[in-house]
Symmetry: D2
Subunit: 349 residues, 4 copies
């Protein structure tokens, strides 16, 4: 294979372009020929679960390892909802847009609400729930059975702890669970602007997942359910969704590594530093950022001519058309970025 | 972690107790820091697809890599059936028993038919289809929309090429696809008793999958669709099932390795040799085998007292109660087995 | 239209060949131009609910009116099960055979067990549940989440109160609901051999339905849930299943009529008397009955030559081939049968 | 029962508050004791099918009778879509709002697009489809597999023939079916502003349904599929959805009556005349209509104080809050309205 062309370009297309953090690869090789039980019933998975419980200060939490984000969302949402309920999410929520209808395939409507830069405000949720229950015809409509948020959001923005707490309170009041998609959680944890800890998540969310795929693992997402009795039959539900890895220890080993010596909380730091530097330079050079996103994704409005040139040297994500002359693009940094790569991009910009 | 206890036992519990073939681990480490596109759109996956097409002598085939067996079955079956159709399978078929209702979760009934040692005879399928169409009330019943078989079966037995061809003919006649689950296909290919080649599968099956998880990969199953136009929208269907790996190259690299220098067709050989040797010794020592299974799974009727002793030194799978004094157990060998391990088991027996 | 041909034959094909009991038609005509609320929120439905509660001696019961049997089964089963659970039923259960996969369309497996003349014995259920929980791999299998029985069964047989109580006890022990399909319940209630009253159903079943379609209504089934808190969101679940009739009062009026002056408990009597008379005569004339079914369905083994002649004068249901020379047929009587019609059949036989 | 209170009010709440057109009731009574086959295989249903084919000038059309609107939409949409496809509909479409998630329960996303007074413009659909196919990530999104419109819309508005033709052309171009929900079709056909005939529907729609429930039947919707080969297995799909009425002739008799002497095309006339008169008077008295809706539903902005008084004498539908001082209400007329009732309302207004 000749990768010459690809290598010539700097990739800022996404945060899943490489393999895994070297520490993970080492551990996988080292343990490769050991024999263990399947389906997550192995000592590596158990050890990873313990470390995650400790990191989340949630000693009773149930922790399950799944393979990917769409799969995790579909599995958790099916597990939390009754057949006639739907899930409240932002119009921009991953489950509402880029999961090919996985939630609907499970029989549930995604009840979309307006967002601001990818975030749903507590008031938006409150009004949505009030409106539902105030509607005389509410029983003819899909009952909101849970709330889905992502942190960081699909737009790289962050909830504050205060906002998370407010969402939690509303959900409590209406007795519906709050579920947080942490596909890129490591980039929040490494971000100075973030004030939500793993322990906060375990307090304010009924279920959340700690993303591996985009945060240095080959693949894998760790679902945390602080109240272990919340989801009866969860193992079978995972199996039914085709989300139970036979060699579950591959997930256990990865998360055990990520939660050894706080690697997970540190792994996003290079991405955040690089994004900060790029952001500062973009602003310096009068590029327009769409909005303030403090994590590893930058959304920038680019003149189409400039963009074409950029595209010759840099891989980026097309986001959407801004107007006839301009385009919104996304630049994403990841855990593996080097100062050299960052500088090279800045040089090109 | 202390594995002392576990290590003391010889594991014949299943064929997914270890990591991956060393050649796969090497390749994963070697390519780890390269950057490639996601979702299977990478040169490793493309190369693996080409090699599989060549091995199957199916140059136009569509090849997609999924993560696990239950997931693959659910995805392929949903892709092949219309909403009112069901899938014909043996009572013992994996989809009918140990997939936690994944097929039904997709809305489809598993239409079970009698088996013989895990195999469905062509006559059984013919009669089932005839009976359906001859029934005045057939439109009130679930329409058989495809046939599912596994090779080797869940009982380690093998179809003959003649049987496969006959099943193919019946399916053609009723215009329904034939789908073959090859979770343990490498153990068939390495077995002298097997007369079905990869190329035969591409001729006689409408869809089949080449199992990785149980055949030396960390995980992964390669779905082969000889007629690439058979399943419109297959990529979206895979995504919708949460079966699209973001870092799809991890699958590509594994299958590229397995299909380099015919590794896949050789990898099962040690397991078959070991199983043969164990089988011969069991018979010599008057153990009763349940039926003749020529691949890597042996089903043996054991006196309960003997079994307890065996259990102190050997991990096996409980299959089912035979009678009050005896139990059916399964012993499985795998690609990584050594002559020493085989001999140690024989010694114990 | 010319019905001459059809009229020439005596119809014993099924119990839904006519319209409704005249009292129902009168009431529908009488109330036709009144204006009431929709969706079952009308005084007729309320009155019918009260009368059913009284007849069942279940003053707190929730009563909902649905349109047909398959719809009712699918709606109730979806309402009672969690996404990973299945429903235990006889191989011959209506949900397992003639509902075109409606239960699977809702995502649930029908877990079939052996029957005797259409009935499941309490021991069969007990063993099935024990086996599930004793299986090490049970979490890989579909969890039995409820039990479905029908009374009378699809074979016209009846459970005894003792059997019903035993099934109830087992379900209680495993904390799963017992659901009874009463599509032909009026024919049980009118049968001297039956010792299960409506009040017994309310004690021993978690949910049951009182069949209208086959018991003298134009259509309609009344679902009774003795514990009104058992199914949160039931109204929405009914709506979601397309089972909420806009002019719900049409159902209310029919059941209000059926439960006025105990009509429902009397309506099946002519059918039972006719079936008894036919049965006695069949036995007298050395016809072979397949088994003893005391209600309005008779299953008879007929010589094929005789059958052809019978078919010229009588409409019957083909049930299944018995052997090359004989066929099993079903003869069904209904609420509207006259002694003349019965005698005419006996004459022909 | 005492209906005194209810009777004291004039009901303009909806168009399903009464029973059926007297001609239907007569016919049901007249045919009540005849014996016919079940499941729509009866001469009444056949006759109704023929009359509908003739009225639609679609001699080859498949015509099936279902019970209610939500059920019909869910059944048809499941029948037309592949598992990974969704249905394009207005935000205000009945399937997007008031069907309790019936479409999602079948596994399909409702892909909502902006509307104008309940209508989707052809351009809106064109842009939506173009955007989907132009998106690099389209395979990660739900594929638009059909278009749903209603005529009259949920807001009482009407498509023009030109608009319908344009929608048809776009659907043809993208090879997806166009489906029209005619729950209130009789009110369009009776409306001078309407220029779409039944024959036009058969030309421009791939599937449409002729509403009975809101147009003078007790219940029932007639699904018309001009190309009879479009939906293989439709009978089973209807059964699977619990939408197959056992005594199907009850539907056949109703539609046979509605399509005798063009009753269906005339039945809405009194409702349209009444609505016109009310509309004129509302405008005369300076009530604000929300928008121009020429059929049997009027949407009016009412001062809250006035509304309270109105509510003492008239039943109306609350639609939504307009602002703190005003409310949008809906007034609906129906096929049974008398000039006296209309005048009484005008008097009150």
């Amino acid at each position: 294979m000749n990768f010459a062309d690809e290598k010539a370009k700097l990739s800022f297309a996404s945060d899943y372009m490489k393999g895994a953090h070297p520490a993970i690869m080492e551990r996988l090789v080292e343990t490769n020929m050991m024999e263990t039980g399947g389906y997550g019933l192995d000592p590596f998975s158990d050890s990873a679960r313990d470390k995650i419980r400790m990191a989340c200060e949630a000693p009773r939490a149930r922790v399950e390892f799944l393979v990917g984000g769409t799969q995790t969302n579909a599995t958790v949402i099916d597990a939390l909802l009754r057949s006639h309920q739907g899930v409240v999410a932002a119009h921009t929520g991953h489950i509402a847009t880029h999961e090919a209808g996985a939630i609907e395939a499970g029989g549930h409507k995604v009840l979309t609400v307006p967002h601001k830069n990818g975030k749903i405000s507590p008031d938006t949720v409150r009004i949505f729930l009030e409106d539902y229950y105030n509607d005389d015809n509410c029983e003819h409509m899909v009952m909101p059975g849970m709330v889905y948020i992502s942190h960081p959001t699909e737009y790289g923005t962050l909830y504050t702890r205060e906002e998370l707490q407010a969402l939690h309170e509303i959900c409590r009041q209406y007795r519906i669970p709050l579920y947080l998609d942490g596909a890129r959680l490591a980039y929040a944890l490494a971000c100075p602007a973030n004030d939500i800890s793993l322990a906060d998540l375990a307090v304010y969310c009924d279920v959340f997942y700690i993303g591996g795929t985009k945060c240095g693992a080959l693949f894998g997402e760790a679902v945390v359910v602080p109240d272990p009795d919340l989801i009866p039959g969860f193992f079978s539900i995972i199996k039914q969704h085709g989300a139970l890895l036979a060699k579950g220890r591959i997930l256990g080993i990865q998360f055990d590594t990520l939660f050894t010596d706080d690697l997970y909380e540190r792994i996003g730091a290079p991405a955040i530093e690089a994004a900060d530097k790029i952001r500062t330079n973009l602003q310096k050079k009068d590029y327009r950022l769409c909005f303030d996103s403090p994590t590893n994704q930058l959304f920038c409005i680019m003149d189409n001519e400039k963009l074409q040139k950029l595209g010759e040297k840099v891989e980026y994500s097309f986001w959407e058309k801004y107007d006839d002359a301009n385009t919104i693009i996304r630049l994403a940094t990841d855990w593996s970025i080097t100062p050299e790569k960052t500088d090279a991009l800045i040089e090109i910009l």
